[in-house]
Structures are given as C-alpha cells and as structure tokens.
C-alpha cells in the first residue's frame, strides 16, 4: 500500500540535521523544506554533504542529531512508511551486473510490490524510453557506462514514487539522453505530481528544471531560493556564476580562496539565519 502524507505540509522536511563521522561534520545543522510537487535542486561542490543528506533522508544512514520527515513519516522511526514514499537513482552504480536489464527491473518491481501486469507494462515503457528494450536480455556487465546509467534511471522510475531522489542522475550521459531524461522527469512532475529532490554538478540542468535551489558547502546550507533569486542576490547572470560566487572557485576540500569570500559567506549565512 502506498503511504500518503496526511499532513498536507512539506513532502520533505529537515530540521537541524547533523551527521558527524568522528570529528568531521559532513552535514552541519541544516534545515530545509520541499513542497509537494516541487523540483528541488540540492547543489554543492564535491564533499559538501549532498549525498550524506540523501542517505539520511532515504534511511541508509541515521543522523547524529536533528529531525526529518518524508511524506509526513520519520525515516528513523517509521522506516517502512518512509521507504514506501520514495524512489532513488543513486550516484554510484547499484545494479546487479550478473543479471540482465530486465531481471534487474523485475527484481525492483518485486521489492516495491508492483502488480505483475503493471510491472511488465511499465518495464517495457521505461526500457523503450531509455532505448534499452532491444538489449533487455543482455547481462548488465555487457552494457556501456551510459547504458548502465540509463538503466539505473529506468529502474528508479519504475514504481512511480511520490518523492524521487536523483543523486547526480546525468553523470556520464550524453546530451541527448540528458534532454530525454529531464523531459520525462518534468512530465512526471507535472502529470503525477511527483516531488523531485536532485543533486547535479551541471548548473544549466538545475537552472532549467528546478523550482528551488539550495546550495550546501562544508555541510552547511549557504543560500536558497529560485535560480533567478540566487542569481539576482549574487549579481550573477546565471546559476553557475551564482554558485561559484557562493562557493568559491577553489577545488573542494580546501577553504574559501580569499578573505573577501569568507566574509561574503559569513554575511550570507547571517542573512539566511
């Protein structure tokens, strides 16, 4: 049975969420809410805390402190109901490469208790969409990197979740497939009202599809708003420029490049609070 949000409030809500590994705070006291039917882009440099946040929201990891709800359910205390509410396309590969594409899809269908006739229909539709239908009986280990990624996406969409987590879904995809994917996600979002929580390093994608963007850096959310609002606030002409202005131009795992940037980040955080 599909769990339904009874509160009518935010589909995803995090309050003072923190995840600490030893002395390192991967996620530091973040709070945000994602409305029903919203496409929410969670952006940040490598190691900023995006995947850790997704892991906590999707019950793969418990927070050190803070609370969260998913479709009204607590992913820590009510894992089954929370898991019933979402689908996910992971950043890293998560297919069984010894199985065929079709078998991977069927396995997912059984795990999500999709009735068999619906399952077969949707598997065909999604594999056709991702242009994998002709190779559905090939073992996944014989697929190219791009084909594996497309299969991961098809699998994530199989059970029509209420919330869809996409952790860098277009990594390794060509522009044609990326275009096809975002078109389909938009359609799902508009027709089925699916709430989308996505991370990506391709800023034009986020700019194109996201209603709201939150930027995370060093485990803290440093700004949020619509892509246009972010660009306006930072005086940038695009989301990418705004992102660089917010997070600096140094390669990650280093501190902000100049005192001016540090001061800028401090002031922005103050303003957000």
């Amino acid at each position: 049975m599909i769990a339904v949000n009874s509160t009518g409030g935010a589909m995803i809500e995090a309050k003072n969420l923190t995840k600490q590994y030893g002395k390192i705070k991967a996620v530091n006291n973040i709070s945000f809410a994602v409305r029903h039917g919203e496409i929410f882009a969670f952006l940040g440099p490598n190691g900023a805390g995006k995947t850790t946040t997704i892991k906590m929201l999707t019950t793969l990891s418990k927070p050190t402190s803070g609370t969260m709800t998913l479709n009204g359910f607590d992913p820590v205390r009510n894992q089954a109901a929370a898991r019933n509410s979402f689908g996910i396309v992971f950043q890293d590969p998560s297919l069984d490469e010894e199985l065929t594409a079709y078998e991977n899809m069927v396995l997912h269908g059984v795990l999500y208790n999709i009735p068999k006739p619906v399952q077969s229909q949707r598997i065909e539709m999604l594999l056709q969409l991702m242009q994998l239908w002709e190779r559905k009986n090939d073992q996944v280990k014989k697929y190219s990197g791009g084909m594996k990624r497309r299969l991961e996406i098809a699998r994530g969409l199989l059970h029509l979740p209420q919330i869809l987590f996409l952790d860098e879904p277009t990594l390794g995809l060509d522009p044609q497939t990326r275009n096809l994917l975002w078109k389909h996600i938009r359609e799902l979002n508009q027709k089925e009202g699916i709430t989308v929580f996505l991370t990506t390093h391709i800023m034009e994608e986020a700019e194109r599809v996201a209603d709201t963007v939150a930027v995370i850096d060093h485990g803290e959310i440093i700004d949020r708003g619509s892509p246009r609002e972010l660009a306006k606030r930072t005086g940038a002409s695009s989301l990418e420029e705004a992102f660089l202005s917010l997070t600096g131009k140094t390669i990650r795992d280093e501190g902000p490049e100049t005192f001016r940037q540090m001061a800028g980040q401090f002031l922005r955080r103050k303003r957000l609070k």
Partner: protein, 248 residues
C-alpha cells in the same frame, strides 16, 4: 514471500552464470579429496580403520559446503562495495526478509556445490550404504549450509570492506574445518582437541553426513540435528539483527 523468493533466485542465477566460480569453488575440496584420499588411504587401511575414501568423502562435502556458504554470506561486502546492497536496503520491505532470501539462496548454492562433490566422489569409487540415506544427507547439507551462510552474513554485516576476509578464512573457517573430524576420526583425540571438536557445530554436520552416507554416526543422529538446528536458528537471528542495522 515474493521478496524472499526473488532474492533466492538472484543468488542461484548468479551462481549458474559464473562457470569460473563453480569450478573455482571445487578446486580446494577436490585437491583435499584426491591428495588425502589416495595419499593417506593405504596408511588408514593399515591402521585397521577401513577405506579412507569412504571416511573422507562426507568430510570433503562438508568442507565444500562450509567454504561456499561462508563465501555466499560474505558476498554482502561485495554488494556493499559495488552498490547493489543499497537497492535492497532502501526498498519498503523487511530487512529480515531480504536477509532470509539471500541466506536461503546462498545455502542452496552451497548444497549444489556439495552435490557436485558427491557426484565426483562416486565417479572415483565412493559408495554410499543405502539410497535411503540420501534424503538425510541432503537435510544435513541444508543445515550446514544455512548455519554457515547465516554466520557469513552476520560477519559481513559488520565488516566495511574485504580487508577482514583473509582474517576470517585463516582464523575461523580453516580451524572450523580442521577441528570438525572431517579428515580424521574423533574418538581417541587428546582431551583439549576433543573439547574443541565437540564445541564446533561443523563436527555435527560432518558426523550427520558420514552417518547418512556410510552409516557411521559417532555423535548421534538426533544430537547432530538438534545442535545444527539450534545453532542455525541462533545464527540466523543474529545475522538478521546485524543485517537490519547495516548503514551504508
């Protein structure tokens, strides 16, 4: 039930599609069977203990099942490293069912491996006393396989990567095998070694297989079943608990 079945089926498909894995897993048991079976056979007979091949085959079947079961349990580490584990952990199904599906699948694969060893043994001269003993032998194969797949699952649930694998092979699996009476009769052993053999659940599996295949029970049929069932239940429970707490 559907979840248990599909995960059981997955293990079987992975096994039958990997010819190198099937052949590779036979290597060590066959080496023991040929080297020890034909090497020590004459000495064993001169000591008045009868045909060593007859004595050894049930032990080698148990060895094959032990190794394959532990390996299948530990496969969780691979799934954790190569990502598939996440797919099952975020699914809205009980983790106990996931663990059971995997464990039963791993146990079934181990039984197949045991059956292959039995078939090869028959080809080189092993004879079981009665066909009626075969279903009982299959029961013992299942109990050994379930117990050690669950043990492998429990261990793999707390291991982050493959670095601990060699440690487990050297300090757990090999001692379990050598102290099970698989290679030598357990009567007349020194008291300390005998105590270890009695504490080792695999001893009861080896004895059960030997009893059902060649009619030689040293620990008793019911004792063997009781020990294997109770140890199996405890390890499946511990494995399920630890599996349900996995974080990635």
């Amino acid at each position: 039930m559907k979840v248990i079945y599909i995960l059981w089926l997955r293990q079987l498909k992975r096994y039958f599609r990997s010819k190198s894995r099937i052949i590779g897993a036979l290597g060590q048991p066959l080496l023991f069977l040929f080297a020890l079976g034909f090497g020590f056979g004459p000495v064993f007979e001169q000591a008045g203990e009868g045909n060593y091949l007859q004595f050894l085959v049930p032990g080698i079947i148990a060895m094959s099942i032990l190794f394959t079961s532990m390996f299948n349990g530990i496969e969780i580490i691979w799934d954790r490293q190569f990502g598939f584990l996440k797919e099952t952990l975020v699914a809205p199904v009980s983790r106990v069912n996931i663990m059971l599906g995997r464990t039963l699948g791993g146990a079934t694969v181990a039984i197949f491996q045991g059956i292959i060893i039995l078939a090869i043994s028959i080809l080189i001269g092993f004879r079981f006393v009665s066909p009626a003993g075969l279903p009982l032998a299959l029961l013992f194969m299942f109990l050994i396989a379930l117990l050690f797949t669950a043990l492998g699952t429990a261990i793999a649930s707390v291991l982050e990567d493959m670095h601990g694998f060699q440690l487990i092979m050297n300090f757990l699996v090999m001692p379990l095998f050598f102290l099970s009476g698989a290679l030598f009769p357990i009567e007349n052993l020194p008291a300390g070694v005998n105590a270890l053999v009695q504490l080792n659940p695999l001893s009861y599996g080896v004895d059960g297989l030997r009893g059902s295949l060649i009619g030689l029970f040293q620990l008793g049929l019911l004792t063997n079943i009781a020990v294997l069932v109770s140890c199996g239940l405890v390890l499946v429970t511990i494995g399920a608990y630890l599996f349900s707490r996995i974080e990635v």
